[in-house]
Structures are given as structure tokens and as C-alpha cells.
């Protein structure tokens, strides 16, 4: 698989910007700077190539002993988030050194990116909200306490069981999701801020991972709607 660069950041919220007279909805991400905290190589006991990126300085007191030692080895302040970036290419791994800072300028304006985050938790939800089921067809004619229920969940002796994965009520949200092929609207390197056109998963102040797009790697798109008249 082709190598895709990744960075860690934080979602700050949404707003709008004007580009060529057009109003563009954007998500504001605090992106980086990321620090290389650890480097793993094929030759070492790890047995594979990767770098560990850290984002967001935290207080020394807040790191436990094990983590404090890990950061001390890299001569870095403790970080809030650590994520590993696999680098299968042997030559590419040499581009990274422990302690190296990575900034948002690895992305270009208009570039397609994928943004992964933990979605907002919705708690225990019924089937109508969780799976967009329809509920009862009528709310009258004697229908009693069945208006938002699931219908039948199976047949009779064949198959004699409820199929695995049957959609039912349960916990919704708070899972990792990726929004693919969103475009970088603007990069404000002095503030380490990246504006993404459209929305990304997660709450405000939630941590996100920003990748080069898996399906449109390195492609540059237009931020505006580009209406021809």
C-alpha cells in the first residue's frame, strides 16, 4: 500500500470562510506540531518500520511513571496523544528522527484528506434513531405501545434463530469513524491551524487523525463549488 502521511490534531469547531465570493463551511482543526517520540525499525526488536507521533504537551505531573520514562527517553515533554504511523518503505524511515517536529505544511491547500475521529456518543438508542428503521406504520387503529419498535426479527423453525448482526437497539456513537475525501480549505501555519471543507467526526476538543486521502492520494481539488456560467 502506498505510504500516506498522517498527523494528529484537535477539532476546534466550525465556521465559514469566503472564497471567490462563495461561502464555504469549514471545520477548524488545530493540527500539530507533532513530535516523533519513538522510531521502530525492522532491524530492532520491534521487527517493523514505524514512527510514533505525539501531539499536545501535557504536564509532567499528569504522566504516569511508565509514560514519563518513555518520554524521557525521547527527551520530550509528555504528550496527550500518541499514534503510530507504519512506514513499510525502508528508505522513507530515514527521513524521520526522534525529536523531529512535523507541521501542517506537509499538506497542500485543496488536497484531499481523510479525517478520523471518535464520534459523539449518543448513549443507548432505539432502532429508529440508531438504524433509521421506520417504526409502526400507523399510530392508531388499536396500536398499543409499539410505535417506535423494531418489527419481526426472524422466521420460524427455519432458520430457528435470529441472524447474527441483526440490527437492534443499543449503544450508539463513540466509535472511530473516518470521513473520506474532504478537502483542505486553508492552512494557517503560524497558528498550526488547518481548515477542512465540510465536517469531520467527533466533538469539539476531540482528537482527530488527518491522513492523505486513501482513495485520492496526493490529488488536489477545488475548494469552491466551481459553477460555470
Amino acid at each position: 500500500m502506498a505510504f500516506r502521511m498522517m498527523m494528529l490534531g484537535k477539532k476546534l469547531g466550525m465556521t465559514q470562510i469566503f472564497v471567490e465570493g462563495e461561502r464555504i463551511p469549514v471545520t477548524v482543526l488545530e493540527l500539530g506540531p507533532n513530535t516523533v517520540v519513538q522510531k521502530k525499525t525492522k532491524d530492532s526488536k520491534d521487527g517493523y518500520n514505524s514512527v510514533q507521533l505525539g501531539f499536545g504537551d501535557k504536564d509532567h505531573k499528569k504522566a504516569n511513571k511508565a509514560m514519563a520514562g518513555h518520554f524521557k527517553r525521547a527527551d520530550q515533554k509528555p504528550k496527550w496523544v500518541l499514534k503510530e504511523l507504519r512506514i513499510d518503505d525502508d528508505a522513507k524511515i530515514n527521513d524521520f528522527q526522534v525529536g523531529q517536529e512535523i507541521k501542517a505544511d506537509i499538506f497542500k491547500e485543496g488536497e484531499f484528506i481523510d479525517v478520523a475521529g471518535i464520534t459523539k456518543g449518543k448513549g443507548y438508542q432505539g432502532v429508529m434513531r440508531r438504524h433509521h428503521m421506520k417504526g409502526a406504520k400507523n399510530a392508531t387503529h388499536g396500536t398499543h405501545e409499539y410505535r417506535r419498535h423494531i418489527g419481526s426479527i426472524g422466521c420460524r423453525t427455519t432458520p430457528g434463530e435470529v441472524h447474527k448482526g441483526k440490527r437492534m437497539a443499543g449503544h450508539m456513537g463513540a466509535v472511530r469513524r473516518t470521513t473520506q475525501n474532504v478537502r483542505v480549505a486553508k492552512i494557517m501555519l503560524d497558528k498550526n491551524v488547518l481548515l477542512v471543507r465540510g465536517s469531520v467526526p467527533g466533538p469539539i476538543n476531540g482528537y482527530v487523525m488527518v491522513f492523505q486521502a486513501r482513495k485520492k492520494l496526493g490529488k488536489i481539488g477545488k475548494v469552491t463549488r466551481s459553477v460555470e456560467t
Binding site: 465559514q16 470562510i17 465570493g21 461561502r23 477548524v28 481548515l195
Partner: protein, 126 residues
């Protein structure tokens, strides 16, 4: 709100613009919108009554309603959009509601808005 977001929005905020004009719901306005035709640029005028406004700094909008060839047309204008040249107030209206959605159900003479005499407004304040 986050400071970074405030800073981004302040970049797009117009210092002297429609918002400082003190537009009010019920006013009849002429909105001059820049239109690109090939490489020429000209203004198109949309004239109607403000039937609602949304505040929010650089994200503020107004909704303007007019009757065009017997059909009601509503347009939402972002007040800080660079494609809005200027907004002229033709007449001030005296209304008692924040949103004039009731105008949608009315036509002709019934869909008029009482004019605001600024005399009365100032007298009240004295």
C-alpha cells in the same frame, strides 16, 4: 467560542458594512449583489422586505422576500459576503415580530408593512 475561530471570522468581517447600518426586520431594502458575467462584473439589485435576520458576527444573514411576477421569492444574504456590494434602506418598517413569516400567507395589499416614523421612535426614548 474558541479564540482561533473568532480570529478567522474577524478576518472576513466587514468593518463598514451592512450590519453597521442598523438594518431591522420589516425594512424594505435594495441589496446590490455582484454578478460575474464573463470577465465583467456588475450589480444585480434584489429589492424586498427583510422578513428575518440571523445574528452571529461574521456569519450574520438577512432573509429578504419579494414578489416577482406573482411568485414569492426569498433570498438569504450573508451580510459579510464580499459579493454583496451595498444595501440601501428604502423604507423603515414598523413591525411587532422578529420573524415575518406570516407575510408568506398574504398577498397584495394585505402583505404590506406599516411604515416606521422615526419621530415616534425617538419620542419614546425621551
Amino acid at each position: 467560542m474558541n479564540k482561533v475561530i473568532e480570529e478567522i471570522e474577524s478576518q472576513y468581517m466587514r468593518k463598514v458594512g451592512p450590519e453597521s447600518q442598523g438594518l431591522r426586520v420589516g425594512d424594505t431594502v435594495r441589496v446590490f449583489v455582484k454578478i460575474k458575467e464573463g470577465d465583467k462584473e456588475r450589480d444585480q439589485v434584489f429589492e424586498g422586505i427583510i422578513i428575518g435576520q440571523k445574528r452571529g458576527g461574521a456569519r450574520a444573514t438577512i432573509t429578504v422576500r419579494k414578489i416577482s411576477h406573482g411568485v414569492g421569492v426569498e433570498r438569504i444574504f450573508p451580510l459579510h459576503s464580499p459579493s454583496i456590494d451595498k444595501i440601501e434602506v428604502k423604507a423603515a418598517g414598523q413591525v411587532r415580530r422578529a420573524k415575518l413569516n406570516y407575510l408568506r400567507g398574504l398577498a397584495g395589499k394585505a402583505a404590506r408593512v406599516k411604515e416606521r416614523s422615526d419621530d415616534r421612535v425617538t419620542k419614546k426614548g425621551e
